[in-house]
Every structure is written in structure tokens, then in C-alpha cells.
């Protein structure tokens, strides 16, 4: 099993609780080898989806598979999937070691693995303390240790950053990146989008139980913008607006995202991206500052020099995940969602 690359496939997944539809016809794929962020406002259906993936909640219809199999049919599930859905899932009367020993026995793992994980998750000093005295961050790490007992190829984490201090968040980021680098499949949901921005390569965005967008973040975010500070801002804005790129304008594509497999071609929603030949968009921010969309910093600098306009500062800014997320979840109409997904075929 070790070394397997396990893909998560969700197809037409629907969950209804009486009249309420928590998840509606959801279809997406999570690839191994990258960290995928699962985004959506509160109540969007992220947790329900993750619980359906692991068989804790039965879908009304549709399928969710890991490595091609439903969770319940995995031969030794904790070897394949490690999941943390509730940071506080531990008996207050158990010590950290007791907790891990229970699940080590359940999964058939030696006690040595418990010690390893206590060390790895920096819990060795608190191993023999009852968990009722643990901080949320310590419980979070204990549950992560539990999920890692079987050294699983797939990791599902619901809000893993909750309760972690900045050091803990940095550690988690590096840790998850390393796991993904080993070819594992990592799906994490979080409402702290700034945490995810520096971590995820792919995103799945849902709203009201429906897919809004899925694919590499680099493509979803669209091309970066350029922030210019110039005493000649007005004239520079006019020059930039009149410029017509020749089609070689910098774009973030499959090659740029470092994904040689053409993964970016599967981008399922890229609302807002420009097509070649469009005029650059220039927003005047006041105080001599401009934000330029559709041109790279070298082109802006060259154009300014060609027109003998002064530039005091030039900064390339990548799209902000939080901003993009808000746009996607608030502004996209259902029609646009349908159109986008129909175009790419991710949600049939």
C-alpha cells in the first residue's frame, strides 16, 4: 500500500436531511501530491462532504471513493486514510498516550508507533497527562497523531489550524507540504484563508452544498496584478490602457504552476481571467498608485520608460485567496457556476 497514489473522487454526491439539502450533486477530484484546500462559507457542506467520504454519513445519492474504493471497503482504512474532523475528540480522563494506545490497538499498530508520534507531534512532555487539561492546540495535535498512526496515504483535515499558535500553524504548513511532497493526498478545509493561501496548490470551493470552483489555485486566482507608484500616475494609466498586448502577456498556466501533467487544463472555474488581446485594466488607487491587471511588471516598466514616465515603485501582487473566495462564493450566480462547470465538464 505504501507508495500508492490515492485519488479522491466525488461523483454526484448529494445529502438531504429531510427538506434541507446539505450537499447537492457535488463532483470533484482531489489529486495526490498536492495540498488541496476545501473552501466554503460556514454551512456550505464541507464537513458533511468529508464525513460522507469516510462513511460516517451516508449519502442520499452519489459516490465518494478513495483510491477507487468506498471508505467502508478499504481493507485497513486507517492505513489508507487519516482524518481529523473534531479537534476535541478525546476522552478527558485519558492521557495522550492512553488515547493513542487505544487506537494503535484498534488499527493493529505497535506501541512504538505511539511513542514515535508523541515525539513527532511534540506531545512527549504531556504524554502522561489527562487530556482534560490540554489546550485546543494540544488536542488538535493529539488527533493529528491519531490520524497518522497508520502512516496513511490520504489525509483529510477539517479546520486543522484551529487552536494552533503561529508556530504551530507554520509547523503544520511545512508538515502537510512535506506529506504532499511524498505523493500523499491532502485535503484540508479551513476558514482562515490566509493560512491556506501559502499552503494549497489546488482548491475546491463549495457554497450551499454546490460546487463553485475546483482546480489549481494558480489558475483560479487568475494572473497576478502589478501595483505601480508613480508621480505621473494619470499619464501612465492612459498609456497602459491604450496598450494592446501581443499575446505574450504573462499568464499563469500549467507550466508556470509547476504541474507538468497539464493539471491546470482541468481548471474548472476561472472567472475573471483575461483573454489575449484584451486591454489591460488599470485601477487608480489614489495617491499616485495604480493597480494594473493584464500586464507584467517588466511590460509596465518598459512602457513607462518608453514614454519617459517616472516609476517609484513596482510590485507584483498575486491574487488574494480571501478576496477571490469572497468573489466566488458571494458574487457568482448559480447560472455562472453552471456555465463554468459545463464548460469544463467537472460537474456534469
Amino acid at each position: 500500500m505504501t507508495g500508492d497514489r490515492q485519488k479522491i473522487e466525488v461523483k454526484h454526491l448529494t445529502k438531504r436531511y429531510g427538506e434541507v439539502t446539505a450537499v447537492s450533486d457535488l463532483t470533484f477530484t482531489v489529486e495526490p501530491g498536492v495540498v488541496t484546500g476545501f473552501l466554503g462559507p460556514n454551512g456550505a457542506g464541507k464537513t458533511t462532504t468529508m464525513r460522507m467520504l469516510t462513511g460516517l454519513v451516508s449519502p442520499t445519492s452519489g459516490t465518494a471513493t478513495i483510491g477507487g474504493r468506498p471508505y467502508a471497503q478499504l481493507r485497513r482504512p486507517s492505513r489508507t486514510v487519516g482524518a481529523v474532523f473534531d479537534a476535541n475528540a478525546c476522552h478527558p480522563g485519558h492521557t495522550a498516550r492512553d488515547h493513542l494506545r487505544v487506537y494503535a490497538a484498534m488499527g493493529g499498530y505497535p506501541d512504538g508507533r505511539v511513542t514515535e508520534l508523541l515525539d513527532l507531534l511534540d506531545l512527549a512532555g504531556a504524554a502522561d497527562r489527562r487530556t482534560r487539561g490540554f489546550s485546543t492546540g494540544m488536542r488538535q495535535r493529539l488527533n493529528l497523531a491519531t490520524a497518522l498512526l497508520g502512516d496513511p496515504r490520504v489525509l483529510l483535515l477539517d479546520e486543522p489550524g484551529n487552536g494552533l499558535d503561529p508556530d504551530g500553524v507554520r509547523w503544520l504548513r511545512g508538515f502537510l507540504r512535506r506529506l504532499a511532497g511524498e505523493g500523499r493526498t491532502v485535503l484540508i478545509s479551513s476558514h482562515v484563508l490566509s493560512e491556506l493561501q501559502q499552503l494549497v496548490e489546488d482548491v475546491v470551493v463549495i457554497r450551499r452544498g454546490e460546487l463553485v470552483a475546483a482546480g489549481p489555485w494558480s489558475r483560479l486566482a487568475g494572473p497576478p496584478s502589478v501595483l505601480v507608484h508613480s508621480p505621473d500616475a494619470d499619464r501612465l494609466a492612459a498609456v497602459l490602457r491604450d496598450h494592446r498586448p501581443d499575446g505574450d502577456a504573462p499568464r499563469v498556466d500549467a507550466a508556470a504552476s509547476g504541474r507538468p501533467d497539464g493539471h491546470a487544463a482541468r481548471v474548472e472555474a476561472a472567472a475573471g481571467s483575461r483573454t489575449d488581446g484584451d486591454a489591460p485594466r488599470v485601477d487608480a488607487l489614489g495617491g499616485g498608485r495604480l493597480r494594473v491587471h493584464g500586464l507584467g511588471a517588466p511590460e509596465v516598466a518598459d512602457l513607462a520608460a518608453a514614454h519617459r514616465l517616472r516609476v517609484h515603485e513596482l510590485v507584483t501582487e498575486r491574487a488574494d485567496l480571501e478576496q477571490r473566495f469572497l468573489e466566488l462564493t458571494k458574487e457568482l450566480t448559480n447560472e455562472l457556476t453552471d456555465e463554468l462547470t459545463d464548460d469544463t465538464g467537472i460537474a456534469a
Binding site: R51, L74, D86, C90, H91, H94, R101
Partner: protein, 265 residues
């Protein structure tokens, strides 16, 4: 399955429930029985037959049977604490075939119930014989019969613990399940005995089956006399044992079957 039982044993031994259960068995067996024998049933209020009569011995053994709510509550705690502390989801992630988890719990807690019953019966026997000898009161039943009755009570505790596991799996909410188990066994059944008409059901309820094991009719008779209702007729001991086993098996079946299809949220 072997892994699951090992995990459940570790889970049980890691909490204070286990120590509490053994302590309760000792206090209820040795402590309660010792205190009752020391005071003497004839000094109870209202007075009961003395230890030198068969009815007196059966009565204090029967009262011991009323402590069955303790192992039942422990069984309920075992299952509901998994839901209360959110570990049920973790457990079912490790073992998606949920019936196996509950079967492992039943096996583990069946063992714990047996240990509870043995300690309860053992300490009760020691206290009863010790205090009776110290007071110089000859018991109204031969020692062999007393030990046999205590063994029945001890074994019945296993059944009650499994009933607790079943109720826990059925209700899942810890407070609700504990209230239901303790409330019903401790208060509900004795109250049912007082309701004319309904009291005819008493012999086939778990408490009636337990009373049948020891032939403990004193309480039921006293209630009937007080209310002028028809005397409750308990089942024969063997039928009581069979009925209690039936309740335990039904509870075990509920525990195993119910969690299969329910969502764990």
C-alpha cells in the same frame, strides 16, 4: 475483531470508570451487605424478617439485587461517552464495520460486568457470613444456598451491564441514557409495582426477573399488602434467568444493529 477487543480493554482500563466500578462492587457488596447484616433486617423501618429466617436472608439478598443499576449505568457510560467526547467518529474511522466495534464493547463490558458481579457477590458473602458469625445469628438459609443466590446476583449483573450498553447505543445522549437507565431501574420499576393493573407486568420486567432469581418477594408483597392489590407472582428462578438473558441479548442486538446505518455527525 481481536484488535477491537484489545482496544476496548485498553479504553476501559485507562479511565477511572473501571476503578470506580470495582470500588462500587466492594462498597455495595461488602459495605451494604455488612451494614444490613449488622443492623439486622428486624430493625429496618418498616421491620423485615430477621437474618435467622429464610425470608430475612432472601430479603437482604434481594435488596442487593437493586444495585443492578450501577453496572447498567457503567455500560451506558461506556457507549455514550464515545458520542459525548466525539471519539465515536474516530473509532468508526478505524473500524467502519461498526457492528464489530459494538460487539467488542459487549465482549469487554461483559467481562467487566462479570468482574463486578464476582467482587459484589464475593464481598457480600464475606460480609454476610462474617457479620452473622460475629453477631452469633444463625442464617435462615444454608451457606450453600446463600452462595448460590449470590452467584445468581453476580451473574445477573453481567446481563444488566449489557442492557446498559444497549440503552446507550440506542439513545446516544449520555445524560438522557443515564437518566433513563438509573431512573427506570432505581425508581421506575418499584413505582410500577404500585400501579394496580400495571403491577401484573412486574414479573416480566428486568427487575421482576432479577427478583425471581433470588425469590425476593418481600418488597412486592409489602406493596401489595399496603395497596390491597393482588400479590405479585414472580416467575420461577430458571424462567427469570432466561428472561434476563433475553433482555441482555435484545439489548446486545440493539447495540450491534443500530449504529450500522446512523449518521455520525
Amino acid at each position: 475483531m481481536r484488535h477491537l477487543v484489545k482496544a476496548e480493554i485498553r479504553r476501559l482500563l485507562a479511565t477511572r470508570v473501571w476503578t470506580g466500578l470495582l470500588l462500587a462492587a466492594t462498597l455495595l457488596g461488602g459495605g451494604l451487605m455488612g451494614a444490613m447484616a449488622l443492623v439486622g433486617p428486624e430493625h429496618f423501618d418498616p421491620p423485615m424478617p430477621g437474618l435467622d429466617t429464610e425470608a430475612g436472608v432472601r430479603s437482604i439478598l434481594g435488596i442487593l439485587g437493586y444495585t443492578a443499576f450501577v453496572p447498567a449505568a457503567a455500560g451506558t457510560l461506556a457507549v455514550t461517552s464515545e458520542y459525548r467526547h466525539g471519539t465515536a467518529a474516530v473509532t468508526f474511522l478505524f473500524a467502519p464495520r461498526r457492528w464489530q466495534v459494538l460487539a467488542a464493547k459487549l465482549a469487554t463490558y461483559g467481562g467487566a460486568g462479570l468482574a463486578f458481579g464476582l467482587v459484589l457477590a464475593g464481598t457480600a458473602a464475606a460480609a454476610l457470613f462474617g457479620v452473622a458469625a460475629a453477631r452469633g445469628v444463625p442464617l435462615g438459609l444454608p451457606a450453600g444456598t446463600v452462595l448460590g443466590l449470590l452467584a445468581r446476583i453476580g451473574l445477573a449483573m453481567v446481563g444488566y451491564l449489557l442492557i446498559g450498553v444497549g440503552v446507550g447505543a440506542l439513545l446516544r445522549s449520555q445524560v438522557t441514557a443515564l437518566c433513563a437507565v438509573i431512573g427506570y431501574l432505581y425508581l421506575g420499576e418499584p413505582l410500577l409495582m404500585m400501579i394496580p393493573g400495571v403491577n401484573t407486568l412486574y414479573p416480566v420486567l428486568p427487575g421482576g426477573a432479577m427478583a425471581a432469581l433470588t425469590g425476593f418477594t418481600y418488597l412486592a408483597d409489602a406493596v401489595s399488602q399496603e395497596l390491597g392489590s393482588t400479590a405479585v407472582r414472580l416467575l420461577p428462578p430458571a424462567a427469570g434467568a432466561l428472561l434476563l438473558t433475553g433482555y441482555a441479548l435484545a439489548a446486545a442486538a440493539i447495540a450491534v444493529v443500530l449504529p450500522m446505518r446512523r449518521d455520525v455527525t
